[in-house]
């Protein structure tokens, strides 16, 4: 057992009180300075909430005003996906010349499997798919997470090969 000299004992006590007071001063500063509050009130600021344009929320396929997309059905995204999130289903279409042409029927996207790694978007040679900035994905039924990316009746844009 070690005996502590009285002087050190007293200076220990005062040093301890001082260190505690420093911390209390800091918390008191924040207690009185409400401008420092950083909370975002999420569901309330939904209308003003802006996510960065690169935010990876889900994969979407943009369509233009004629309901045309840029997907050629090359399956590059399907191959690039590590989780089998994307499935390309084909159909045979007749071109105006009467030739048979392979085109996508459905581009099925399983949001529940997606890890938002962006590899499919990177792999796409014709920029047909991109990442959307949505993030409120919860649904009550799992089947709703399986999405078809191309709109019904849509077809491939002219000039995209």
């Amino acid at each position: 057992m070690k005996i502590v000299p009285v002087k050190k004992y007293i200076s220990d006590v005062f040093g301890a009180i001082k260190s505690l007071a420093t911390g209390m001063k800091r918390t008191m500063y924040y207690f009185t300075h409400h401008k420092e509050i950083i909370t975002q009130q999420y569901p309330d600021n939904r209308n003003t909430l802006e996510l960065p344009e690169r935010f990876k929320g889900e994969v979407v396929m943009p369509h233009d005003e004629n309901n045309e997309h840029r997907c050629t059905g090359c399956q590059a995204c399907e191959l690039a996906c590590p989780n089998g999130t994307i499935k390309v289903i084909f159909k045979n279409e007749l071109t105006p010349e009467g030739k048979k042409k392979k085109a996508i029927d459905k581009l099925v996207y399983h949001l529940e499997l997606c890890t938002m790694c962006n590899l499919c978007v990177e792999a796409c040679p014709s920029d047909a798919i991109k990442m959307a900035q949505t993030f409120e994905h919860s649904v009550f039924d799992r089947s709703k997470l399986t999405k078809v990316l191309n709109n019904p009746g849509s077809k491939i844009m002219e000039g995209v090969e």
Binding site: V13, L20, G23, M24, T27, Y30, F31, I37, I38, T39
Partner: protein
């Protein structure tokens, strides 16, 4: 605005005029009981929302702000949730003790309210050993903690309860010695007499530095005694998940929760009474105008103001400091607080004998 004392007095004389004395006594006891339970409920609600707001602001967040104006009804909503929740009893628990423990915690807290002077001349029971009574009853609260920890049949609970036992037994001493310092200065154990002795100035001012030291040791000791952070080893949620009330849920948990807050209120009320003059207004020397203005503030406001200041202090500790380890906790008591408060008591006694205080 009539004071609490006048209301009570008028009620008493009205009852005496209309009923026979036995009935008056019974009615008054029932009224007092209802008042205490009402005070409990109000205190629980107020202190919980206060704690949540204080912690939120210290932690640079907003705190509850959805239920009611500025979230002030949040604790009411929590209470409803806790009442509706199923109170489960673990299959391996000692059912009788397990269910009894939260009520003991509550009863102890209720008993402690009896001698507190809420306003000038307004007390439930002005017992002549008031301070002793509070010290004695408040040590009983450890029994409920030990009971809860043991009956839960859970190792974490048991460890928490054992820690709590060691802690409360040790810190009783310092709390008692700090209180004794004021008792020596005031020369009385009766709460009303201690309050009256501070009519010309609070003991923390009149008693020079020894009274301040006694005040500091008292605050530290009661923080430990009520199991509040940084001394919340009995709960220690990062070590023992929730300590002695790990297995409690629903209303039984709420009772523990409430008892903790009421205990905090009581020890702060005691601190306010002993050191800060209780319901006595702030008087400074010969400043007649100032003193006169202070007298206009109702005594109940003085009392609650001081009490809530101390409660805020204890909350401030909680949201600033890390928790102590069990051996450090005991070291702090036996190596620092106890010697300091003993020497302090000696000085105070000398001071009282030599009439050095004001």
């Amino acid at each position: 605005m009539p004071s609490f004392y006048e209301i009570a007095d008028q009620l008493h004389s009205w009852l005496n005029a209309n009923f026979n004395p036995t009935w008056v006594l019974i009615i008054e006891m029932v009224l007092a009981g209802v008042a205490v339970i009402g005070l409990f409920a109000v205190l629980g609600l107020v202190l919980v929302i206060m704690e949540r707001k204080v912690s939120a602001w210290m932690q640079i967040r907003l705190g509850p702000n959805r239920v009611g104006p500025k979230g002030m009804l949040q604790s009411l909503a929590d209470t409803v949730k806790l009442i509706v929740k199923e109170g489960m009893t673990p299959s391996g628990a000692d059912k009788f003790l397990f269910n009894l423990a939260p009520y003991i915690a509550m009863i102890v807290a209720m008993l402690l309210l009896a001698p507190i002077a809420f306003a000038g001349n307004f007390q439930l029971w002005d017992i002549n050993v008031g301070v002793l009574y509070v010290s004695a009853i408040s040590s009983l609260s450890v029994i409920s903690v030990l009971m809860a920890g043991w009956a839960s049949n859970n190792k974490c609970s048991l460890l928490g309860a054992m820690r709590s036992g060691a802690q409360i037994v040790s810190y009783e001493l310092t709390a008692g010695l700090s209180v004794l310092a004021i008792v020596v200065l005031a020369g009385d154990l009766k709460i009303s007499a201690i309050v009256a002795s501070q009519s010309d100035g609070w003991w923390i001012f009149k008693g020079h530095i020894p009274a301040i030291i006694a005040f500091v040791t008292f605050i530290i000791a009661v923080t430990a005694e009520t199991n509040r952070a940084p001394f919340d080893l009995a709960e220690a949620e990062s070590e023992l998940t929730a300590g002695f009330h790990t297995e409690y849920s629903g209303m039984k948990f709420a009772l523990f929760f409430l008892a903790e807050y009421v205990n905090v209120f009581i020890v702060c009320a005691l601190g306010a009474t002993l050191f800060l003059g209780g319901p006595m207004p702030l008087h400074i020397g010969n400043w007649e105008g100032f003193n006169h203005a202070m007298d206009y503030v109702p005594s109940s406001l003085w009392f609650f103001g001081k009490t809530f200041f101390l409660i805020f202090l204890i909350m401030w500790f909680r949201w600033t400091f890390p928790r102590l380890r069990i051996d450090q906790l005991l070291n702090l008591e036996w190596k620092y607080l106890l010697p300091i408060s003993m020497i302090n008591l000696l000085i105070v006694t000398a001071m009282a004998i030599l009439k050095w205080h004001f």
